[in-house]
């Protein structure tokens, strides 16, 4: 599904990703954990095409198509979705207008007709219910005045509406209380599908109690330094990241 080879990227001329490899098959959930500053968020931003992230080497292919030459909107239309760590507030643009514009764009790229307003509203209301957001959130400005948890639930709702092939959750658990975390996890689990893959980027093991990954990778200093099954997350929780960083340095030396 998503194949990343030797990916290198700079942010403001600083080398952040230093040769990252990842192969994600359809239906798999991969968790990426690691200390602060390891490049976890950079990975999501590079894959989704945010400005200011300069790719200096390697490749990232979604079902054989190279993502890295594409505009952000083209990547989204191809089926890539980034759930933001800090969803942006856009006053004056209603959530419903935004969601419809988004779904219409992605559908158009798939050769599907736009949904009429009534069917779309019905669909959006149903998804609102699934993530436990009141319908009034559709009328409000995009993320405007939403609490942290509401913003994250709005991200999951977008994911549900767009039905992407690859979902990247960038520290979606940060700032969430346990109830919100469960709603988010349930949303993600409801989207699990043999044809959909997930990258869960997180600092803590907590979210992985609710979204059980197939693989856990440790990202340190711009590279995957260790991969394993879900039990690796528990080990990290217990031991921290220090021992792995040391191992990476020794290995590199």
């Amino acid at each position: 599904m998503l194949t990343i080879k030797d990916l290198k990227a700079n942010v403001e001329d600083k080398n952040i990703l230093k040769g990252l490899n990842l192969d994600i098959k359809p239906g798999e959930i991969h968790a990426i954990m690691g200390p602060n500053g390891a490049g976890k968020s950079t990975l999501g931003n590079v894959l989704s095409g945010r400005e200011g992230y300069e790719v200096t080497g390697g490749s990232a292919e979604l079902e054989g198509t190279n993502l890295l030459d594409m505009d952000p909107e083209e990547r989204a239309r191809l089926g890539l979705f980034l759930a933001f760590q800090y969803p942006v507030e856009i006053p004056g643009v209603s959530n419903l207008e935004f969601l419809k514009a988004s779904v219409d764009s992605v559908r158009a790229a798939q050769g599907k007709d736009a949904l009429d307003s009534v069917s779309f509203l019905k669909l959006a209301r149903a998804k609102c219910k699934l993530v436990n957001l009141d319908q009034s959130f559709l009328k409000r400005g995009v993320n405007e005045g939403f609490s942290g948890g509401e913003k994250k639930r709005n991200e999951i709702m977008q994911m549900m509406l767009l039905e992407p092939k690859v979902c990247i959750l960038d520290e979606t658990d940060s700032g969430l209380d346990i109830d919100a975390l469960q709603v988010v996890a349930e949303g993600v689990n409801s989207l699990r599908d043999p044809n959909r893959s997930f990258i869960i980027v997180t600092h803590y093991q907590r979210l992985l109690d609710y979204i059980v990954p197939d693989f856990v990778h440790v990202l340190a200093d711009g590279k995957i330094v260790k991969s394993g099954g879900k039990e690796l997350a528990l080990e990290l929780e217990e031991k921290g990241y220090g021992w792995l960083e040391d191992a990476a340095e020794n290995g590199a030396g």
């Binding site: 909107e73 989204a76 004056g92 643009v93 988004s102 764009s105």
Partner: protein, 435 residues
């Protein structure tokens, strides 16, 4: 006396008995004032060249006032209003509401009580020696509209005053005057609406609005300038506020050959509140200028002023927001915000917040920004599959739409939103998700 002065004054040679004194004073004041140039501080960024150097001159009234085909312009859909419509300055019975309303009357139709209200109030909120185009208006009006709401009366019906222009064989002037008098505890909503057909306009609309808002009274005032770009519109709004009075206003200007609005609000007694929201959206080579001046003469009054503009193409906007806090105006709360978006490298904004504070116990804040679209927001939309071009349209729209969300009248919002969408979209594909 220049030819320009003479030409415009020639419009009104026969002075009526009701307006005679005002006309004469206005003419005297107008003649004493020089026509502003770019060297005049308040006109530094706004050239009157297109008005003063027009070969034909604007010194005549319109010759035709036909209503044919103008119905669509005369109405605001779903607005339940008592409507007075003027075409090229002349009252149109055909386009106006077909019943009379006791709270609104043309000066020329006023009964004796209304005449005395006009005589007592007209011109009293205006310092004509400071506003040459208000002096001109005083000099040349032969009629006008009075909205009068009596003590403690809450006017349910909205009042809509619409001025429509159509092109004439020669350039012409439309003098327009609205006087709003709200007695103690009165409450009213007045919508002023300037429209034109789509043909190239050659009018100079000189429209002055005066509002005398009594103690505890509240005026909700909309002023919408939706005219074709050949038009020249120079005028303003002058407001006197009584004790605990409320002035709540929304202004929208699309820009034209010259649009200049002077908004003057006087906090005269104490406890009054003024809320000004404004939007300007010039495009092509249009010019629009808002000059606001809020006088806090007494203690414990509040002002909240928010203006936003988007300048496209080679257009230009000027915003000057002066808040003058006199020595006795303690406990004043005043906020002024002006944000601007430039959509092209050739567009211009000259913005100047001007706080003059002579009292020591006040809270004032002001800010003016000129910005591009927010990159974070733009990426967020694009990461959801929305094209960069559509994202720009949605964000520009949202920048203004944010100010429309608090409007009390849905019909006004519904009138404006599609206009806004067209302004930025210009392309059906890009505007399908907004408006």
């Amino acid at each position: 006396m220049t030819d320009f002065h003479k030409g415009l004054l020639a419009i009104n040679e026969q002075q009526s008995s009701l307006l005679g004194a005002l006309n004469k004073n206005g003419a005297d004041s107008f003649l004493q004032q020089e026509i502003p140039t770019r060297k005049t501080e308040a006109w530094k960024f706004t050239s009157l060249y297109n008005l003063t150097s027009n070969e034909e001159g604007y010194g005549r009234l319109a010759e035709t006032h036909g209503a044919a085909g103008l119905d669509g312009l005369a109405t605001i859909p779903a607005l339940d209003a008592q409507r007075l419509v003027f075409v090229n300055g002349q009252y149109s019975e055909e386009l106006s509401s077909n019943t009379e309303h006791k709270n609104v009357v043309r000066f020329s139709q006023a009964d004796d009580t209304q005449k005395s209200i006009i005589a007592d109030n007209l011109g009293t909120a205006i310092e004509q020696e400071k506003h040459v185009f208000a002096a001109l208006n005083n000099a040349i009006i032969t009629d006008g509209v009075l909205v009068h709401v009596g003590k403690n009366e809450h006017l349910k019906t909205k009042i809509q005053i619409t001025h429509i222009t159509t092109p004439q064989a020669k350039a012409f002037t439309v003098p327009a005057r609205l006087l709003i008098v709200l007695e103690t505890g009165a409450n009213a909503t007045v919508v002023e609406h300037f429209a034109s057909n789509d043909d190239e306009q050659n009018c100079f609309v000189n429209a002055i609005t005066e509002a005398k808002i009594g103690d505890n009274a509240r005026l909700n005032h909309y002023r919408l300038q939706l005219v074709q770009e050949g038009s020249i519109q120079i005028g303003g709004v002058h407001v006197d506020l009584g004790r605990d009075a409320n002035y709540d206003s929304f202004q929208l200007g699309l820009g034209a050959k010259i649009v200049r609005n002077d908004i003057n609000v006087n906090h005269n007694v104490g406890g009054s509140h003024c809320e000004l929201v404004g939007v300007y959206l010039p495009q092509n080579k249009q010019l629009i200028d808002f000059h606001s001046n809020i006088e806090h003469k007494v203690a414990q009054c509040t002002t909240k002023e928010v203006f936003r503009g988007i300048m496209a193409d080679k257009s230009k906007a000027v915003f000057n927001g002066r808040i003058h806090i006199h020595p006795d105006a303690q406990k004043t709360l005043a906020e002024l915000s002006n944000k601007n978006l430039l959509l092209s490298n050739d567009a211009t904004i000259n913005t100047k917040p001007e706080l003059e504070i002579y009292a020591d116990d006040v809270r004032c804040a002001h800010g003016a920004t000129i910005a591009q679209l927010d990159e974070q927001a733009r990426f967020y939309l694009r990461s959801r599959g929305i094209s960069a071009a559509e994202a720009d349209v949605m964000l520009s729209f949202g920048f203004i739409n944010e100010l429309l969300e608090n409007l009390e009248l849905d019909p006004i919002r519904n009138l404006i939103r599609p206009i806004l969408a067209q302004r930025f979209g210009r392309d059906e594909e890009l505007m399908k998700h907004i408006g």
